[in-house]
């Protein structure tokens, strides 16, 4: 596992995604209202477009989610699983915040 410095903590606003480029991977970063960070693949598996970071963050029955802005499928921020179409998933990446800096891990 290698950790990559991506941005400062305030660069990821609450309930509002941003995209990052990590060693050629396009990654969507999110921070939810309770200050938890998530990192998922930015490419929407249904359309192939790099847009997941621009989706709306919310929850479905308590599970934190993001909905693809392209055709509105909802994905779990925790597992990357598409809740509207189980079996389709976004890759998830380890993410952490150390000393005010957000880092994403890749193998």
């Amino acid at each position: 596992m290698r950790w990559h410095v991506v941005c400062r903590e305030p660069d990821v606003p609450t309930d509002f995604g941003v995209a990052a480029l990590v060693r050629g991977h396009t990654v969507a970063l999110f921070r939810t209202g309770d200050d938890e960070l998530f990192a998922l693949g930015n490419v929407d598996p249904f359309s192939g477009a790099g847009v997941i970071s621009r989706g709306i963050v919310g929850d479905r029955r308590g599970e934190p989610t993001v909905s693809s802005p392209m055709h509105k499928q909802v994905f779990s921020l925790r597992s990357g699983e598409c809740l509207d179409d189980p079996g389709t998933r976004l890759p998830i990446y380890p993410v952490r915040c150390r000393a005010g800096v957000v880092e994403v891990g890749t193998d």
Partner: protein, 847 residues
């Protein structure tokens, strides 16, 4: 050790079999190899014609997600079966392989029948069955010229309508004395011919095609009919029936039915117990079926047998059909011709309305045997499932339009009646799911029962079944808010709450979602008048609002500056050209009298807009649920018929209501006289000039369900007009539901437009002063959203491709060229060959 099932044909029915087995065979007893001769995986052939009017091959695809990843399934598109050797249990393919099977299912469908007309093999002659056929027809079509369809049945009419959609003058040639001779009787045929003629199709019945003739270029040049008519044309489409594709019967040594097709028993099994045939290629007890619903039932029956479940024999099908032409309703079901012994007919014909309806009853007039509906087929959904059962009411009551108002009534249906014939779901099945609480809405019913996921024509019945069970009445916005949009609007107004987080904390649950967040954002925008990207608001917006631009299929955005009333100076046009050239954007004139520039990368949006704002442009709100355009005609300025200055009025209205956020988008039009060149009556509010002033029409739209706007008030002065529109729009914004356009909103009141008139014209609620004041606040606080973003570094900082590489282009975006401009490069989604072990994560990484 798993066994191998080989399916020949990946069409609608072959694909259904794959799905049925995937669902049942949890023990993974079967490995499934599917051979599909077409280059595409199975697609919705029933919806094929929509390919001509905008659907893409991907949208028509029937592959459900997970099929390609399923390691039990190996799908080989572009590979045909050439031979079957039953002794060695092998199938040979065009790829040169030999596949061994434990079970074999033939699902090869049909081929179009081409009648032996001289010249039918000329370049320019087509059939209408596959996506490839339609590609061929599309590239051969010449708008404005004649095209000929041979065959006036269901498919022939669809094909003719497709030629019409391509801009051609379409002729339909039918040998029988009427159109759709199989489904419709003489009376229905006469009404149908008139309706089809009104659509602009040229109908030739009772004549045959005598020949197709080459022009000087050696390709098709004309078509002659037996009555001597000659039609100059470069395009001829044969749609004169289908023949089962049973050519593999010969090499396999399998028997055929009398009229072709693989002969099978009631279990769809051939005389070889390891070989089945399903779909259009199967002659079940000698009879072939040319519709998809019986094919799906055959697939289910075979899946039951292969997974050793108890099963029912295939029971035959009634051939009920509904024509999918735009603008012409035709349906027939059961014994439409009254051929049963002693059958009685009840006919209701209205030539003025262009409707014809007939019910066929048994000899004591108590049981419904079949029927024909032309011109108005709204009773089809109620009547078709009643076929074979006792009539719940006297026949004339079921037929007369007045008795049927209010949509399909499912209450009269017996429990055994089939509601969804695509998936063979009965009313009892649906009632049981509703009663168990497993489904609370149509979406839930679709996923629990599959009903409604085929052709979609039963969805209105699903709705009314939910209604009747008292379930569908909830107005709750989503799982986070039990209130409706209009209730939330009142809460926001009464409490003065200005943030989503407070609203959800005090009046909702959880953190919100993509339904309630944008809805609340719109309410806040209409009540608070702050910038839609201020602080917390930004995260509530749909992506279009969040980037003040419309997202396109490849993640880029479009840019639409406002062009009020469609009036634009040459200098501004030049600026648009320069900006588009500089940023490499695709340009197109929109249907809203302005110019759209597509393909902008998110990181370029601010620079593009800086240039536009400097040249005097402002946001056109093409992205918002907001006022879009006020379309205008030239009016008295130039037009010799104009009676009022429509351009000035359109510009005035567009400038007044620009930026106004609403439950759905709002469009308007102003025409300078009754000729109505601005199409104002297809708008949410439309203004038409009279000698004495303006008439105001409301509640029109194009789109999915077109409506004509209706007259609200006439002969208004400029000031009266604006005052009424102010009130109308504010009343709409306060009380409509999420994504409800003005037409649906007006209809939602008990007495419809009358109620709106009472409130906004006669002030029956005493609120017009308040509505006008709210509009005055809006107009006073309007600022250009884009200019505000350009002046705000915090907001600008969000327009980057990557937070850690703000100017790096997103590697997933690329373009090709078409007609001298860019277009998105088609995106590679996983290829249609399942490769076990390959998951999406690795794909993503290598992308």
């Amino acid at each position: 050790m798993s066994k191998t099932l080989v399916i020949i044909g990946h069409g609608m029915v072959g694909n259904r079999l794959v799905e049925e087995i995937r669902e049942r065979d949890s023990a993974e007893n079967w490995r499934i190899v599917v051979l599909g001769e077409e280059p595409y995986a199975a697609y919705d052939r029933v919806g094929l014609s929509s390919y001509m009017t905008g659907s893409t091959a991907e949208e028509l695809s029937l592959l459900s997600s997970g099929t390609l990843e399923d390691r039990r399934v190996e799908l080989r598109t572009g590979v045909g079966a050439t031979d079957i050797d039953r002794a060695t249990r092998t199938v040979s393919t065009t790829a040169g392989e030999t596949l061994r099977y434990d079970a074999l299912v033939l699902a090869t469908g049909s081929r179009p029948f081409v009648p032996p007309v001289p010249g039918s093999d000329l370049e320019g002659c087509h059939v209408y069955r596959t996506l490839a056929d339609l590609d061929g027809i599309r590239s051969a079509a010449v708008p404005g010229s004649d095209g000929v369809v041979v065959g006036g049945g269901l498919l022939g009419l669809e094909a003719a309508d497709a030629l019409r959609a391509l801009g051609m003058r379409a002729h339909v040639v039918e040998v029988a004395p009427r159109l759709m001779p199989v489904q419709v009787d003489e009376g229905g045929g006469a009404v149908l011919a008139r309706l089809v003629g009104d659509l602009g199709l040229e109908v030739h019945t009772g004549v045959a095609t005598s020949g197709a003739h080459a022009g000087v270029d050696g390709e098709l040049g004309s078509v002659t009919l037996t009555d001597g008519t000659e039609i100059a044309t470069k395009l001829l489409v044969f749609s004169a029936g289908i023949r089962p594709r049973d050519e593999l019967a010969e090499p396999a040594g399998l028997p055929r039915g009398g009229r072709g097709g693989f002969l099978v028993d009631g279990n769809c099994r051939t005389e070889d117990p390891r070989v089945w045939a399903i779909g259009e290629c199967a002659a079940v007890r000698g009879q072939c079926h040319g519709l998809v619903a019986p094919g799906y039932r055959m697939a289910a029956a075979v899946a039951d047998q292969l997974t050793e479940r108890g099963h029912a024999e295939f029971q035959g099908a009634d051939g009920a059909t509904k024509l999918k032409l735009v603008g012409v309703d035709v349906a027939s079901f059961g014994d439409a011709h009254g051929t049963s012994e002693g059958a009685l007919e009840v006919v209701y014909a209205n030539n003025a309305e262009g409707t014809y309806a007939k019910l066929v009853l048994d000899d004591d007039a108590s049981t419904l045997l079949g029927g024909v509906l032309v011109g108005d087929a709204s009773a089809y959904d109620t009547l078709r499932p009643l076929t074979g059962t006792a009539l719940p009411a006297p026949p004339e009551q079921l037929l007369l339009p007045a008795a049927r108002s209010g949509g399909p009534s499912t209450g009269v249906l017996p429990g055994e009646a089939t509601v969804c014939s695509c998936h063979n779901v009965r009313k009892t099945d649906i009632a049981a799911v509703i009663a168990s609480g497993a489904a609370e809405d149509v979406t839930g019913l679709k996923s629990c029962t599959k009903a409604g996921t085929g052709c979609g024509s039963c969805v209105p019945m699903l709705k009314s079944l939910l209604d009747e069970a008292g379930v569908a009445t909830s107005d709750a916005l989503c799982e986070h808010f039990a209130q409706s949009r209009s209730e939330l609007f009142e809460i926001v107004r009464a409490t003065g709450i200005t943030t989503f987080s407070r609203l959800v904390a005090e009046y909702g649950t959880g953190r919100g979602c993509d339904i309630c967040k944008p809805a609340v954002a719109s309410i806040l925008a209409s009540s608070v008048n702050s910038h839609i990207l201020d602080e917390e608001q930004a995260g509530l917006q749909d992506t279009n609002d969040r980037f003040l631009a419309n997202m396109q299929r490849n993640g880029t955005y479009s840019v639409v500056p406002r062009v009020p009333g469609g009036e634009i100076t040459p200098d501004k046009l030049i600026t648009l050209g320069q900006v588009a050239t500089e940023f490499g954007l695709y340009t197109k004139i929109t249907g809203g009298q302005r110019i759209d520039m597509f393909g902008a990368r998110v990181e370029h949006l601010p620079e593009i807009w800086r240039r536009l704002v400097e040249a005097g442009f402002e946001s056109g709100h093409a992205y918002g649920k907001a006022l879009r355009t006020v379309k205008s005609c030239v009016g008295t300025d130039w037009c010799r018929y104009g009676v009022q200055d429509s351009v000035t009025m359109a510009i005035r209205l567009e400038m007044r209501y620009r930026g106004l956020r609403a439950p759905h988008k709002i469009k308007a039009g102003v025409s300078g006289c009754a000729r109505e060149c601005a199409e104002a009556r297809s708008k949410d509010f439309g203004v038409i000039a009279t000698e004495r002033g303006w008439n105001l029409y409301v509640g029109g739209n194009g789109g999915f369900e077109p409506r004509h706007a209706e007259l609200l008030a006439s002969d208004l002065t400029d000031e009266e007009l604006i005052r009424l529109i102010d009130r109308f729009l504010m009343f709409y914004i306060r009380t409509a539901e999420r994504l409800q356009r003005t037409a649906g909103w007006i209809e939602s009141f008990d007495n419809g437009l009358e109620h709106v008139r009472e409130v906004v014209v006669e002030d029956s609620l005493g609120i017009v002063a308040e509505l006008e004041a709210a509009m005055a606040r809006h107009t006073a606080s309007y600022t250009d959203e884009w200019r505000a973003v350009l002046d705000d570094s915090e907001k600008l900082s969000r327009f980057v491709s990557f937070v850690n590489a703000p100017d790096s282009p997103d590697p997933t975006i690329s373009f090709t060229e078409e007609r001298g401009q860019i277009r998105p490069e088609p995106i590679d989604l996983p290829t249609p060959v399942a490769q076990p072990g390959q998951d999406r994560v690795t794909e993503e990484v290598s992308a």
